[in-house]
Assembly symmetry: C2
Homo-oligomer: 343 residues x 2
Amino acid sequence: MARDKDITIYDIATQLGVSPSTVSRALKNTNAVGNATRKKILATARELGYQTNTFASNLRKQRSNTLGVMVHELRSNFITSVLSGIENVAAETNYDLIIAHSSENAKKERANANNLFHKRVDGLIASLASDTSNLHHFKSFVDKSLPVVFFDRVFEQDLGAKVIINNFKAGYDATQHLIRQGCERIAHITSSLNRNVYSERLRGYKAALADNGIAFDERMVIVDGLAEEHAAYSAKRILKLSPLPDGIFITNDFCAAVVMQVLKDAGIHIPEDMAIVGFNNDAISKVISPKLTTIDYPGYEMGQIAARQIISHLKGTSNINTTNTIILHSELIIRESSLKQIS
Amino acid sequence: MARDKDITIYDIATQLGVSPSTVSRALKNTNAVGNATRKKILATARELGYQTNTFASNLRKQRSNTLGVMVHELRSNFITSVLSGIENVAAETNYDLIIAHSSENAKKERANANNLFHKRVDGLIASLASDTSNLHHFKSFVDKSLPVVFFDRVFEQDLGAKVIINNFKAGYDATQHLIRQGCERIAHITSSLNRNVYSERLRGYKAALADNGIAFDERMVIVDGLAEEHAAYSAKRILKLSPLPDGIFITNDFCAAVVMQVLKDAGIHIPEDMAIVGFNNDAISKVISPKLTTIDYPGYEMGQIAARQIISHLKGTSNINTTNTIILHSELIIRESSLKQIS
DNA sequence: AAAAATAATGCAATCGGTTGCACTGTAAAT
DNA sequence: ATTTACAGTGCAACCGATTGCATTATTTTT
């Protein structure tokens, strides 16, 4: 059986002897259509299985009903949670999503921004790649008054709305906790300090040391990637420190898990010899031994909030430029990997 | 500065004194345009910053240049790898992606299929929810001759092309390995047997037992969800078996990690008391103690291949209906969690 | 009862790219 | 030298929904 053509508003109009304009108006909730007519139209639309042709509609309306999402990496527990949150809100509000990832590459990020712009997304949600050094590539969005919301990795002083956590406080809390457990030589494994998330955590780490009269030693800070191979290498660098640290604050749970594995293989006892604090509260933190103390980072909520921000801006309910930065609650979750003392 | 309107082919046409049709033809690689004209047009297009309006183009061409992707869950390491593979190929070939997830819910899956159909995607890549019982909701795609490729979770005998691994063999290999390690009472923790991936692995498990003269005992098979809470519960059920099993084949690495955690907390030694084999070769399998023996499942490649299948079908290079099923290589990766004997 | 306001609908242009058909001019074939 | 072919280009009709403006019918106001 040959496939029939799709049903259009013209088909409905012809069948009912009304004009396409009336059908169009009836299918939305414009009140400029008589009640009887509207009912007939809606009934016929359902009966014929009418579906809006979004291309025609978008073309005419000059908007896409689509949000662009740019992430620095797809294969990450945290990012997946955020995406899931965004998707949840987008689905509810009938927005579509185009997802692009930069693989931590500024060049690809620029290409993606460009691409999404030309795909005419109505708004953008983004987390920056590790080597992005400015926001020039988002300028076209700003010029066109398209809302942009950054999450997690942002430029705190630059354009766009932001949804973040207090990374300074998180870093401070993690370090303070290690100090309270009796650690005196605390190392810090982190990633590109160009990114606020890492530089702020470092700042918190330093502040906690200072507040406790511990001298900062830059050899104790290891900056590298967070993927498996980098993590293993960082762990080896830890093992070469002399004297060995008695605590490590690591800005990523997966990285912490790999580091712990290497340390354990080297005969180091955790937490007795070295206490560990991770970051993110990924599922992995509960299935490694010892269980990982970490900072709970509400990714799903972050996604939902970023999406809601954008969408309520688009619907005119609120203006994204007035509430510029939203800080979500994050907190230290204490598990075995850092418990030297039973308090 | 007020934003200028977007550049259209009409702007280019006017500027050069040619017709829009010629511009349109020049911008694609139709050979029906003179060489000099084409060059001028391309130069002007670049200079003015012209970008195709995809809505207009899609509307006219009646296709979207977009692939729909339906997954049963977003927050999964395996799925993320697949998505990453799909994205990689889609980006190369200039296809967009719309990603929808069913949260393991057949009803939502049906809604998603419907939605993607009406968004007029050019093709569909899908993995089934755990309680999906038929493929009726994909019929509209078939009727419209839109290609559908299923991956991972498929109906092996039903419509559509499939990209899968040999789950029977994987199950057989995992079980055979445990038997070779001296296990005699092997439990199996798995999920919905309506899904080929789980039923086939179970079949492999049974076949290996049979081939080694071990009687199948259905109390040794635990069917439940694979998320954290279900996994913990399954572990408790294992602990209630009497006699205790001396080996477990678990169809998911994360689930295996949780189970191991619970077993270890209960004082069971792995692999001495109980050997464990997981499934997927997620990153997690290498950072838990002991490291997890598992089946390597090439998610990224699976995504790439599914996407390539669809796209080459769409481009007319190959017909998806002729190569109906593609089976990817998977293999047992032996680590500490199952090594009872140093062989 | 006449005038004014309002509700319900239609007309037709518009969004921007694509493509079948027709036309022109030059090159190739006879 | 004539016919034939074809490369290069333009015309105009689409694709389907939206919306400002005009028109008609109906209700309200005075």
